[in-house]
């Protein structure tokens, strides 16, 4: 059967993608950010999965205001990097895993989560920046991502966004869905977005290191309590766009300890301020 072996958490800041694409990773401003992912690039080589289930949010790219799905799972064979207004990122096309994705869609919907099934979708920086951070720069034509990726988009743009509790429960449903897939696959689940940041209004630029640090601590040790944190606490303490952190609870909910297994091993933890407008957070948890 398929199983979830590890979860990866990371910010997905567009400026990080631009820094990679423009060869700026060694500039003093960016060096500390990319240093924080050196371990992770080696780790991914050593722990190469068969499939990555990647939780991200679309930033008014594939989904305009015409349709706003709360949870959308990509079941296509491939997903093209989107032109977000600056031109498409020069990175490889994302290869999907339609069989596992459609299996998860069917299982999770039967567990009372209303997923939107998406057979055609371009993917924006929310999905491609985490891949770049852990795989390094890849030639758009000759390069390739290490394995198929199932994109899972969460609405965190228009309020009300799903609660932390609902995201945490959804992660548990995804774990059950993966484990009911017959093929023997090593699956990683990645939660992206965050950490504290605000991109709008006179409060733009808000960073709350104390909040972020406590969030990471609690995500590791006590995610069930963290899942109860209300939306307004994220907005007040971590900025209006800090709400992206609820997506990390989907990945955390899929870990074995939540279903009665052993606590995960913390393989890596990293935090840095700033990248553009944002605090960068990154965590790798392995199932024992």
């Amino acid at each position: 059967m398929a199983r979830i072996t590890a979860s990866v958490y990371t910010s997905h800041i567009p400026a990080i993608g631009a820094a990679l694409d423009l060869g700026k990773t060694h500039e003093p401003y960016w060096q500390p950010v990319f240093q924080g992912y050196e371990f992770s690039r080696q780790w991914l080589k050593d722990h190469r999965p068969d499939v990555i289930f990647l939780v991200f949010n679309d930033h008014a790219t594939a989904f305009s205001l015409d349709m706003i799905p709360t949870f959308a799972i990509g079941t296509a064979a491939e997903f093209k990097p989107a032109d977000e207004g600056w031109g498409a990122r020069p990175v490889p096309t994302v290869i999907g895993h339609p069989e596992l994705a459609s299996h998860i869609a069917q299982s999770v919907i039967q567990q009372d989560f209303d997923l939107t099934i998406v057979n055609k979708m371009d993917v924006d920086h929310g999905l491609t920046v985490p891949l770049s951070l852990l795989c390094g720069a890849q030639d758009p034509v000759k390069g390739a991502w290490p394995c198929p990726v199932i994109p899972f988009a969460v609405n965190v743009v228009q309020y009300p966004v799903p609660s932390g509790q609902r995201c945490f429960n959804l992660g548990q449903a995804i774990r059950r869905a993966v484990e009911s897939f017959d093929e023997d696959l090593n699956v990683q689940i990645w939660g992206t977005g965050g950490m504290s940041h605000q991109l709008q209004g006179p409060r733009a630029g808000l960073i709350n290191k104390a909040f972020d640090s406590a969030f990471l601590d609690q995500l590791i040790a006590d995610p069930a309590t963290l899942a109860k944190k209300p939306h307004i606490d994220y907005v007040r303490e971590a900025g209006s766009e800090g709400i992206e952190l609820v997506m990390w609870l989907i990945a955390r909910g899929a870990m074995a300890d939540v279903a009665g297994g052993k606590p995960p091993h913390v393989a890596h933890r990293f935090y840095h301020v700033p990248a553009s407008n944002t605090a960068v957070g990154h965590l790798i948890l392995e199932n024992s």
Partner: protein, 150 residues
């Protein structure tokens, strides 16, 4: 029974909820149209004419022409959509976010390098942090404005 909106007292912050989304539908969809290169060219060639193709309010059009992102947000815009205007203008996300504070690009960048804006005094309206209405615009613009008013 009315809806609970606990986010209305966060200073300098507009939560893009269903009501804002309804108000800003055409404004935001205009922004989405700028994801196509041909539309960016047409917009740049004649902004007013391009905007007139959209059933936006006059106030929304004026806010776009003035690149007043705070005003766009108050009229239903959302930053991820509005970012397409900045992309068309060749602006980075940091330049766009900074423009809403009144700070210069350099002042905003320096604030971020030094750890960003503090949450202290900025959790609720009525406190005295730098994002509160009584401290706008921020940076040199605010200080010179203060001098002028004395």
């Amino acid at each position: 029974m009315s809806l609970v909106k606990p986010y209305l007292d966060v200073p300098g912050t507009t939560i893009f909820d269903a009501e804002q989304s309804r108000k800003g539908y055409h404004l935001n969809q205009f922004c989405m149209s700028l994801m196509q290169a041909a539309n960016r060219e047409r917009f740049k060639a004649n902004e007013r004419a391009y905007l007139d193709e959209w059933p936006m309010t006059e106030a929304q059009k004026q806010a776009v022409l003035a690149r007043d992102l705070n005003r766009c947000i108050s009229l239903g815009g959302n930053i991820y959509f509005l970012a397409k205007i900045g992309a068309t203008d060749g602006k980075s996300f940091q330049q766009m976010a900074g423009s809403m504070t009144g700070m210069t690009e350099e002042e905003y960048r320096d604030m971020m390098i030094h750890g960003g804006r503090s949450v202290e005094g900025n959790r609720r309206t009525g406190e005295d942090g730098d994002a509160q209405p009584q401290h706008q615009p921020q940076g040199k613009a605010g200080r010179s404005g203060q001098k002028a008013s004395i």
